[in-house]
Amino acid sequence: MDFDLGEEAAALRARLRTLIEAEIPGDFLGAFTDDPADLETTQRFCALLAREGLLTVAWPAEYGGAGGSVWDQTVVREEMWAHHEPRGPQYMGLNWVGPAIMAFGTDEQKRRHLPPIAEGSVIWCQGFSEPDAGSDLAALATRATPDGDGWRIRGQKIWTSYAGMARWCVLAGRVGPGERHEGITMFLVPMDAPGITVVPIDSMLGPHHLNEVFLDDVPVGPDAVLGEVGGGWAVIRRALAHERVGIARYARCERLLSLLADELRDAGTQLPEHLGVQWARALTQVRVARLLAYRAVLAQEAGGPPDAAASAARIAVTRCDQLVAELLFQVLGDRSLEAGPGAALAGAIEDHWRYAQAATVASGTLEVQQMIVAKDLLGRPG
């Protein structure tokens, strides 16, 4: 039995931390701020990671990757999220859009899309949710109608992260008379296609994050279909399983707990016993979340169905995110309401709390994950 990720992973972690320390400002809180310089920081950093061969660590060499292990990929995810995702909106392209194109794409799609993703020079968004198809994604109503040898897409997407920044969208639409999972088809759609309108949604997550995307008879060619026509559900399942494992929220929790511990120690502040106890329990919960995430990675690596393990990990990780966010606010007291560079940890705790509220909704709600876990439990012989 061995929990050690290995020397290569440890070296990779150290290398990433060195790069982040050198290149990312101490008060960086991600790309979704009012300061355009933050988006530029992510673009610069992605180009650097690409040059260093670190952007596509786990991609196969034939697609420009380093052929690293799933644990190398895990280390990258952890370090990036711990430091407020300095790849900005790139992580989605790297974590699942690229791998989905490798798995389901044509040779031409691979030639066209994989190099820019590997270089960190293109932003993708994900057009899944709709006003009437949130948790019940199979109820999506955006329709693709044959038009010549291509398609015209009509409908509306919502909660689309990065839509205002993205150059491409992986979009789920419905083809033909099928209902529910039948007929769902994935399209690779350029965001500058005629008929696309992006409307930002004000939210507690900060500017530009959530958007509505209106699709008014958007024309796309036959080469836009990813996988089989009508075979989109398989792509979605693969994508969501990747995304559920994909965000290493526990790593940011650990880092913030550690940074605040340092700050309190430097200030000579001793926590009251009840908060110290909560802190120790939070560290334990974070470890549990991390280990469950590793179990989901192992399940995927073994090639088994990842659904239940990924959902269990996601539930543990997102709940831990909120637990730590609340604990950090309890420690800060009235200072928790401050934001920006003058706030505790340059606003990182306030930012974390706001994002943590979304953790149990994004990429499939907590309740959907619970249903997946329960289904697996009840499916076992009793």
């Binding site: 050690d4 560290l283 543990a316």
Partner: protein, 317 residues
């Protein structure tokens, strides 16, 4: 990275499970409560399974076997102190006892014990009388020390190692019991029809089952992790061991309550297994310390030794 038990340990666990089921599983715990002398049968069974050769301090494979034996014991509320029995000092079984009371589950099963208190003081002790015989502590006995407890400043480092192993193995026992509790609740809610359909057709029931199963899955990861840490970094594993113990107690509180609740009124009846499991697990959850005192102990351990484990970010304020 290969966080799985050795195959031999897994197979040993399957053998132990069959052996425990062969004497009735949880039914044997009912028998023991009615007639405590029937625990001799369990003792013989454990001897045939090789319990005398399962000292976890010997090597990693033995530790894994001891852990799965404790887990299987937990699954059937085995009326025997398996964790203490595999940890021998001078031939005596080990028990961790509360700070002010030499109180041990199944304390009457052995003529004498090596008892350790949380502060490191230790001694040989013997049962002073019959077990409490209460519903929540049917086999709990009070002990008297042969001598004054060894003072803290003369604490034997070997006792620190014993305490870590005892806490870890008792964590595995709790894990087994909670895993079984989820199985029992799943089976009951699948079979029980109310309002014209099985209880598992209700979303709220599914949510509770899912949350209980995830809690147990997380505890299993922590139990494996503690076992591994005791192998690779025994001198720095105290926070990892206490984290397992603390988390096991927290998870037990939630999982036992949820799974018994899902049984409805039947879950309170001793003819239903969950009731026996919940009652007989109580000593393991209260001795040597309950959830809150254990969490306070964890804070101190983290302050002394950190909580990095593998991961270089864990600190406590």
């Amino acid at each position: 990275m290969n966080p799985v038990l050795p195959r031999d340990a897994v197979e040993f666990g399957e053998t132990a499970r069959m052996a425990f089921e062969s004497v009735g599983g949880i039914q044997a715990a009912r028998r023991a409560e009615a007639d405590p002398t029937s625990r001799a049968e369990v003792s013989g069974l454990l001897t045939s399974l090789g319990i005398d050769d399962l000292d976890p301090r010997a090597e990693a494979d033995t530790a894994a076997a001891a852990a799965v034996l404790c887990e299987e014991a937990g699954r059937v509320a085995l009326s025997y102190p398996v964790a203490g029995a595999v940890l021998r000092t001078g031939g005596l079984p080990t028990a961790l006892v509360p700070p002010h009371h030499l109180r041990v589950d199944h304390g009457d099963l052995f003529e004498a014990w090596h008892v350790c208190r949380p502060d490191g003081r230790a001694s040989t002790a013997r049962a002073t009388g019959p077990a409490l015989g209460t519903r929540l502590g049917p086999f709990v006995c009070d002990l008297d020390a042969d001598d004054d407890l060894r003072p803290v400043d003369h604490a034997d480092p070997a006792d620190a190692e014993l305490r870590n192993w005892w806490l870890t193995l008792s964590g595995w026992t709790i894990l087994g019991a909670l895993d079984r509790a989820v199985e029992l609740a799943t089976a009951h809610t699948r079979d029980r029809v109310q309002f014209g359909k099985p209880l598992t057709e209700f979303q709220t029931v599914r949510f509770q089952l899912a949350d209980a199963a995830i809690a147990v899955a997380g505890l299993r990861e922590l139990a494996l992790f503690a076992l591994w840490r005791l192998d690779v970094a025994p001198d720095r594993a105290r926070p990892d061991v206490l984290a397992l113990r603390s988390h096991a107690l927290d998870v037990a509180r939630f999982v036992l309550r949820a799974t018994q609740q899902l049984h409805g009124a039947s879950g309170l009846c001793d003819e239903v297994d969950i009731s026996i499991l919940v009652r007989h697990l109580q000593p393991a959850l209260r001795l040597p310390a309950g959830a809150e005192d254990t969490a306070i102990e964890l804070v101190a351990a983290i302050a002394a030794d950190g909580f990095d484990g593998l991961f270089p970010h864990g600190r406590v304020a």
